[in-house]
Symmetry: C2
Subunit: 119 residues, 2 copies
């Protein structure tokens, strides 16, 4: 049996499974923003945006800080590094398998050619 203790990674992927939340991360990638600014930008109620930001914050993808009456949002990098690391491992395996498949197909072609020559 294979064990995967990765609740944090679960939360990060779940947070990324919403187009608005991915949009918020892209937005914060270019500049920090308050929740009000994010709500305006995504044409959303303040309550709706607060919920999305909370999900991102719980997953470690976003950090928020209250400055006076404004809650400021910035990127929280660590978690996405984990997501990237997992995908990187997976991509390597996947490319390896496709390389194997290519090799099999090439062998098949070569064999076909030599069969043609014999006819």
């Amino acid at each position: 049996m294979v064990q995967y203790a990765s609740t944090q990674l679960d939360g990060a992927f779940a947070a990324l499974s919403d187009a608005t939340r991915r949009g918020v991360l892209e937005q914060l990638g270019s500049a920090d923003a308050s929740i009000t600014q994010l709500a305006d930008r995504f044409d959303m109620t303040l309550t709706g945006m607060k919920k999305h930001v909370r999900v991102l914050e719980e997953a470690g993808l976003v950090r928020t800080e209250k400055v006076g009456r404004v809650r400021n949002c910035t990127l929280g990098p660590q978690q996405l590094a984990d997501v990237n690391a997992w995908l990187g491992r997976y991509r390597d395996m996947w490319e390896e398998r496709f390389a194997e498949l290519d090799k099999v197909l090439e062998d098949m072609k070569r064999r076909e050619k030599s069969d043609d020559r014999r006819k």
Copy 2:
């Protein structure tokens, strides 16, 4: 307002938000397997594994094919390429921002040093 029409990407990230499903993808990355083999490997009922495989299949991450009485699972590559592409774009922005931050910190250090010299 920013528009993000990416229901497919939503499904792919949601499918990846479960440790068992990520484990199944890793397993299929090294060798194809039947649902029965996957259930055994992850110490899970056949019904439970069927549900996980269905989520992965609907997200385009896995392909299944019935061969006789066995349902064989293989990797479905396209969707993960989309996930990677999104993360890649995001990572670039993110690295850019950290490079900017590094520059600001360096400038601050330089200014501190020249202030020290003046004292």
